[in-house]
């Protein structure tokens, strides 16, 4: 019977109900999209790193954990030295430049070596480099920038000719010849990192041990270790950004729910008086307000989850380079956060309703 009253109350003011539900839905969408985008981009980056097919990654002592590099501090000779180790099948070095505009990288590769390690780039159009100022891009980049083979692209204010488009999933979205990049960046004879493939992947731990002896101070990771570092924890600023967005989203939800329930209570002075005259306790009145808020937030959460899938679709349609992943566990978290904010918003209106003097509402007819 109370549920019926709660439901009727919500239907009685459809616009207010709709607005509150929408606010919670926006809150949920904001949370899910920002978290989904951050996780999605990092997961995608880790997936592409695994696509290299290496077992071990060697980075210079100056590099920060998993951050993008934009520097080349390893001597090229190290690559040959590592390649000649008995249980190492091959080694290939790359140079990396991080584009601050979209957190993608331009990667300088020795195409032959890199292709062998990753099992071959799969060309959907065009083919390998022929000239120093040739570039290979992946399908996602091609779609995002709406470019195709034969067109030029600008990198560091230089014209590069797009000669090949490859399937995504192999380290980077943009490749140029490593020698060209070393020249342009003043990194002659230097590498950003070196990937090692072992004859037997089971040797990974042993070889990492040996390398650490050999190259003290260098960062030497197994692929599993390295990709696990590609997470929010490695990017404190990103973590802060996410928390700020969640905070703002919850504040919006909280304020709208609070205002909505507050006006609902004010306009129902008489109804609350009637319920009290029938013997409704404070708890009973609080229960009604809480249930009403709960229904609002649950509807908003449902709508928000649907909306975030819509947002994901739109983002990936218009910005193919962005990856949004909506994990179910985050539905739960975002839902709990929204319910928490909603309940907090219901607190004051509920307390006010419970404290209301019944005769003030009934006496002056």
């Amino acid at each position: 019977m109370v549920n019926r009253l709660v439901w009727q109350n919500l239907l009685h003011r459809p616009i207010r109900t709709l607005l509150s539900v929408t606010a919670v839905a926006v809150e949920i969408t904001l949370i899910l999209t920002v978290v989904g985008l951050s996780h999605g981009m990092l997961e995608e980056s880790a997936r592409r790193t695994r696509g290299v097919g290496a077992d071990i990654i060697v980075r210079p002592s100056t590099s920060q954990a998993a951050m993008g590099l934009s520097s080349a501090e390893l001597n090229e000779k190290l690559q040959d030295k590592l390649a000649s180790m008995p249980r190492v099948e091959m080694a290939t070095g790359t140079t990396v430049y991080l584009l601050t505009s979209n957190f993608q990288t331009i990667t300088g590769v020795d195409l032959a070596g890199f292709s062998r390690m990753c099992g071959g780039l799969k060309y959907v159009a065009g083919g390998p480099f022929e000239q120093p100022f040739d570039a290979i891009i992946d399908e996602v980049w091609a779609k995002e920038k709406n470019v195709t083979v034969g067109q030029n692209m600008q990198i560091w204010n230089r014209n590069f000719r797009i000669v090949g488009i490859v399937e995504p999933g192999k380290l980077s979205r943009v490749f140029i010849p490593i020698a060209t990049m070393q020249d342009l960046m003043g990194w002659r004879g230097k590498l950003s990192q070196i990937y090692l493939k072992l004859r037997n992947p089971d040797d990974t731990a042993t070889i990492i041990g040996e390398l650490k002896q050999l190259l003290p101070g260098y960062y030497i990771y197994s692929m599993a270790e390295f990709t696990s570092l590609i997470s929010i924890n490695s990017y404190p600023a990103l973590g802060t950004f996410i928390r700020v967005v969640i905070g703002l989203a919850v504040t919006i939800g909280f304020l709208v729910v609070m205002l909505s329930m507050y006006t609902a209570i004010l306009e129902r002075t008489r109804e609350i008086g009637i319920l009290k005259s029938l013997g409704a306790s404070r708890l009973y009145i609080v229960g009604i307000v809480i249930r009403e808020t709960l229904v609002l937030t649950l509807l908003g959460i449902g709508a928000g989850i649907a909306l975030s899938h819509g947002a994901k679709g739109v983002i990936q349609q218009y910005f193919p380079i962005l990856t949004v992943s909506l994990h179910r566990e985050w539905w739960l978290w975002a839902g709990l956060i929204a319910v928490g904010g909603g309940m907090l918003g219901a607190l004051y209106p509920a307390a006010r309703a419970a404290r209301q003097d019944p005769i003030a509402a009934l006496a002056y007819e």
Binding site: Q8, S277, L278, R282, E365
Partner: protein, 225 residues
Amino acid sequence: MPHIIEVADLTKVYRMGRVSVPALRGINLAVEPGEFLAVVGPSGSGKSTLFYVIGGLTSPTSGRACIDGQDLSQMSDAERTRLRKRTIGFVFQKFNLLPTLTAAENIGIARDIAGNRNFDRVHFDEILRLLGIGDRLSHKPFALSGGEQQRVAIARALANSPKILLADEPTGNLDTQNSQTVLQMLKDLNRRLGQTILMITHNPGAGTFCAHRTVHMRDGRIVEP
């Protein structure tokens, strides 16, 4: 027989900021079970306030108000709330049905609030028959006439078999015809089912028609007519 209502030296002062409004200035009143008492008096004489105190909606400022042997002046807010559930039924001039619920749901919510599990279906059906609203129960208040709304309100007030029915000008918003019907029904409830009723009315004729006894109020006191 012991009195179901015993009021002695009862006062009630409303405080609104610095202003104090003395609404009741020493009321003495006793009502027996099964009695039908009419209260008449000019507007502002404290009739409604007396009902709110007896009905436990507000606490008395001083004096005693015993309902069914329990002294309201000694009760906490929560205890008075509990008393309202089962012992008191209110009927108001403006019907005061919950507008978003049907007639049946309005009655149902009263039972829900009281947590009334051993509800006497047969007895309540008799009340509904007496009130003649059996076929109007699925309607919302706006679809009911004033007379029907007031009869639903009476049914709701009686849903938990209260010992006392307090009716504050129940016919104040009704035309003559509907007033007569409602008064007749209250009289029937009292005479046939033994319901104790206190009724405020501005119409002395209504008092003589259905009440056993009429008391007059003026300036917060019970006075001789």
